[in-house]
Every structure is written in structure tokens, then in C-alpha cells.
Symmetry: C2
Subunit: 321 residues, 2 copies
């Protein structure tokens, strides 16, 4: 795939793992990741972008692998002092992590847009892969639960996903627009492959694809679009996707995720990748022309990540011919 | 002085030292300090209040005495990470210090006023002395120099006071108003003593006294007003006051500071305290009814601070009778 490029849509941890695999097997700069920003929030006046930061830390090999989030070699001096002041400590802000938030907040305060600030930041982290926020406008995922409406981070971090979800709202999404630079790159040359990473379908993929115009542009690209199931063997590998599906009355299966995408974004997904341990797609989804591809999708090691990336690239090449 | 109270006007280090002495010799809660906020600035989106923070750290016995600024037991993890990102590091933000800025910025972002936030903060630091910002409105000291106009912190920290000063502007001062709570306390019971601490006359005392209405209210109080000279033996003990006087073409003497106050705030100061090593006041100043009081004013130890505070209280009692 000479000067070909790959576009990945990603939320946090699961998406960042596959992005790392894609980055490892592609030439430098041939990958671009569109990141969910609907989890973004303000704390102590700082703009915090959890999914973008997970991508920054993962793609620069700075992530804390044991912990599963945040930075390696992290310390907690500021958080300890904040706790002594009786300040909010429900969101764990590490000292090194804080530098990212401070730098970003300062640049945004100077009037730069998020797209430009993040492109600068990923270069400062030494990352060849472009990381593009899903939009520059503020969008906030609100989770409607049996305990009332919660901001996503409150639901996710403070309440540890315990409330039962009923529905989601992406507040501000109607004013959101995809990155102009991304649209220009897509218009210049469609990516050889567009990957919907195995991130949460409801709170990572849906907000990205809900940015007005984005999924339609991607669907119309002459690109192979492959979605990788975040549900393996009837459970989410990471995070609350499985619990959410059960609470929403949807079967906790890869096939149900495929159906979710087929219904909301008709014509977008060409191939849906299921893990070896899962059943195949429903006839209804297959009738919409979505092919099933079965392969190992669990990424424990870096080799797993690269192997999955290689299999997706091969699949795209095969389907293109 | 039964249920009597003392009001001090203070900038940073020198004013905080005398405030600590006053706090040590007065009953708990009998001191209130009005702090200069014209040095405040935003960095990385955080609201930083250098003079208030010096007061918080000094009055809670958390200040770094060897260094002369900041907190004891400080660390620099965030600043190191910011430096690695190529971020702004000209203002030394310590990890523990950052917790103060984060907490304050978060509270301000929630819509609280600075007066209420600082009163809460000093209680969280375990300080009995009330610390009152000179106003809630944003005011910025601009230093006009031979190298152009500089924000105060840029002049003070980044340029280390090297440019030659020509004049000062307190941008926004016309919209500033003294704290309503302070005005109510002054109306209820005038302080037994009002102290102009030995802080920089041009960039600490002048901005406080330039808040419209404040100095006139203080002058009309039935309170003894004592100003302590920041110039001892022809030099400032700390900071650029002496250098500024020379550049402004004013003799670098305690008497010239007294004349500055007498000219700008006629009728405010009752007694001007000069150090033993200084000459007396000029006839012009004395003609305005300002008395000179000569005593040791250099505060090296905590005992020095308490001794000076005791002498000022005695002076106020004597003058009241």
C-alpha cells in the first residue's frame, strides 16, 4: 500500500491498543486516529481529554500497562496536596499527566483550536501518527441512568459504572463539525482502510459517528470499512460495554454490536470482525451486505496488537481486489 | 484592645512577614490582611495570585524560608514534565503549590467570587487571619519600561526586574471595588490599627490604595494608620523598590516613600515608621501632620516580626490616648 493511509476511529484503552498495533505495522505517518472527545470535561479549570490522552500515552509508549490507564512512572504529589485542601480527587490526576492538561489548557486559552493543539501535542510526544479530535466544538456525553442524569466521567470514574443506563445524550453534537483538515485529506485520497476500533459502541463510537456529516463522508469514501467487535465471548474485554448492552435490553453479543452499527449507520461498515469465540452475524445484518470475518481479536501483548493490525490490513487488501 | 482588630495592607514577602508578626501577637482572628491582587495572572488557564499565596504559605507556616518564596517540602514533577513538552516554565510552579492554583481555579470556575474562595482557602490552610483580596475584579499591573510595556510577572520573574521602569498602570482599576464584607466590617467597628506593611510602594501598596474608594474609607476611619518603610538604610530589603525609585528619579530613602504616600493619599497616614538607620521625614511631610517613629524594622527571625508588631500596637495605643 504505497503512500496509502489508514484511518482509525478510537475511544480509550481498547481503541488505543489496536491503534498501537496499526502504528507498529504501518509506515510512519500512514495512520491517523480520530478520537472521541465527548468524554472530555473540565476539572479545576483544566481541559481534560481522556481518550486523546490514552492515545497520546499509548502511541508514545508512555502508558502504564500494569495499571491499564495513565502514565508510567507517575507520581501523585499534586493530588495529595489537593486532598489536604479538601479538593476534588475523584479523578486521579497524576503529576506527569497534569503537565499534559496544563499545556493543552494554556494553548486553548491562547485561542488555538483543539485540532491544532492536539496535532502539536502528539508531535511533542514524538508520535508519527496524527491524532484528530472528532470535532473542535464541546460535546458532552450525558448518561441517563436509574440514578438520574450523569456526566460521563462522573458515571465512569466516580460511580464506577454502577448505575443502570437507560440512554445517552451527546450534548452539543448538533453544533459539532468534523475537522476540516481531515475532510480535506479524505477528499484528496481516501484511506485504504477505515477501522472502527474495538471501543465502546455507545459512548466511544456513537459520539464520533454522531458528528454531523462524518459517518456519511466515511461511508461514501472508496475505502474498506472494518469494524472490530468490542464484545468477545459474550462480554466486553474492558469497560462497561457489556453491562450497558444488558441494561439496554440488547443481547451481549458481537452480532448485536454489528446490528447496532448496521441500523444507525446504514452502508458504513463493509466487514465486521468477530473473535474466534463468537457466533456469526444475524441474517438481518448480512442482508445489509456486511460481511463477517472471524479472527483472534484479543490483544494482550504488543505482538497480538500488530498481528490483529496485519490481519485487518490483509482483509482490506483482499476486499479491495 | 478587647475585641479590637487590626487591618494590614500587604503585598508579598515583606508584608507577609509583618503580617505573621501581627498574627503571632494578636488574639486569633483579630488580624485581617488586605492583599494586592494586581500581580495576579493566568498561566496554563490557572488563576495565580502570588501575593495571596505568599500570605497563605507564610501565615500557615508552610513557606520555604531558605528559598524566600513558595512552599517548604516542594517538588517539581509537573514542571519537569511541562519542560519535556516544551511548555512555559518561566514561572516556577511547584507540585504542592499547583494544588492551590487548581483548587482556586476550580472554585472560581464554579462561579464563586474571589473574596469567598480566598476566605475558604485560608480556613483550609488552618489560618485564623482573614485574607481579603483588594477587589474581586481583575486588575493587572503593567510596567512601562525602557524595553516596552510588560505584565508585572513577566517583568518580575522572567526579566528579573532588569528593564528600567518609567511608570505603572493598574489596568482595570477603574472597575475595581473594595470587598463589601470588608466595608461592612469597617463600618461596624473601625480597626484599632491600620498598617501599611513594608511592601513595594509602587506595585503592592499603590494598587491596593488605587481601588476606588478604599483609601478614602481607611483615611476616614477612626483608626491609627501606620506605614512601615520598605526602604532601610537607602535600599529595599527585598525586591525592586529601591531600583524602581532610582529609575523614577526619586531619592532611595524612607522619607521619599513617606512623601509618596503623603502626596497620593493626603490624610491617610498618621505615623510613618522608619528604621533606626534612616534619617527623619522631610519638613514637607511633617507639615502634613505625619509623625515619624523610629524603631528597628528589619525582620530576620520570627522574634523580630513579633517585636515589630508589638511596637506598632503600642504606638497605636499611645497615639489613641
Amino acid at each position: 500500500m504505497n503512500d496509502a493511509w489508514v484511518l482509525a476511529l478510537s475511544g480509550g484503552v481498547g481503541g488505543a491498543k489496536l491503534s498501537l498495533g496499526l502504528q507498529a505495522v504501518l509506515p510512519g505517518g500512514a495512520l491517523e486516529v480520530v478520537a472521541n472527545t465527548a468524554d472530555d470535561f473540565s476539572l479545576h479549570g483544566l481541559r481534560i481529554c481522556p481518550d486523546i490522552d490514552t492515545l497520546l500515552y499509548t502511541l508514545s509508549a508512555r502508558s502504564n500497562r500494569e495499571q491499564g490507564w495513565g502514565l508510567a512512572d507517575e507520581s501523585w504529589r499534586v493530588l495529595e496536596a489537593l486532598e489536604a485542601l479538601g479538593g476534588q480527587t475523584w479523578f486521579q490526576l497524576g503529576d506527569r499527566d497534569l503537565a499534559t492538561h496544563l499545556w493543552r489548557t494554556g494553548e486553548l486559552a491562547s485561542g488555538r483550536g483543539l485540532d491544532s493543539v492536539i496535532d502539536d501535542l502528539r508531535q511533542r510526544f514524538g508520535i508519527a501518527t496524527r491524532i484528530t479530535p472528532m470535532c473542535e466544538q464541546p460535546v458532552s456525553t450525558l448518561v441517563r441512568t436509574d440514578q438520574g442524569e450523569l456526566d460521563f466521567q462522573r458515571y465512569f470514574v466516580e460511580h464506577r459504572c454502577q448505575p443502570s443506563v437507560e440512554s445517552f445524550e451527546f450534548r452539543g453534537i448538533e453544533s459539532a463539525r468534523p475537522s476540516s483538515d481531515l475532510l480535506l485529506r479524505l477528499a484528496e485520497k481516501p484511506p485504504a482502510l477505515i477501522v472502527l476500533c474495538p471501543s465502546n459502541p455507545f459512548v466511544s463510537m456513537d459520539p464520533i459517528l454522531a458528528v454531523p456529516g462524518l459517518w456519511q463522508v466515511l461511508a461514501e469514501c472508496a475505502s474498506t470499512v472494518i469494524a472490530v467487535s468490542p464484545i468477545v465471548a459474550g462480554a466486553a474485554l474492558k469497560g462497561p460495554a457489556g453491562k450497558m448492552m444488558a441494561e439496554l435490553g440488547v443481547p451481549v453479543t458481537a452480532a448485536a454490536v454489528a446490528e447496532h452499527f448496521a441500523t444507525r449507520y446504514p452502508g458504513l461498515v463493509d466487514t465486521f470482525v468477530l473473535d474466534e469465540s463468537d457466533a456469526t452475524l444475524s441474517p438481518a445484518v448480512q442482508e445489509q451486505g456486511i460481511k463477517a470475518a472471524v479472527m483472534p481479536t484479543v490483544m494482550r501483548t504488543d505482538d497480538d496488537k500488530s498481528a490483529l493490525a496485519q490481519r485487518l490490513l490483509r482483509l482490506a487488501t483482499e476486499q479491495h481486489h
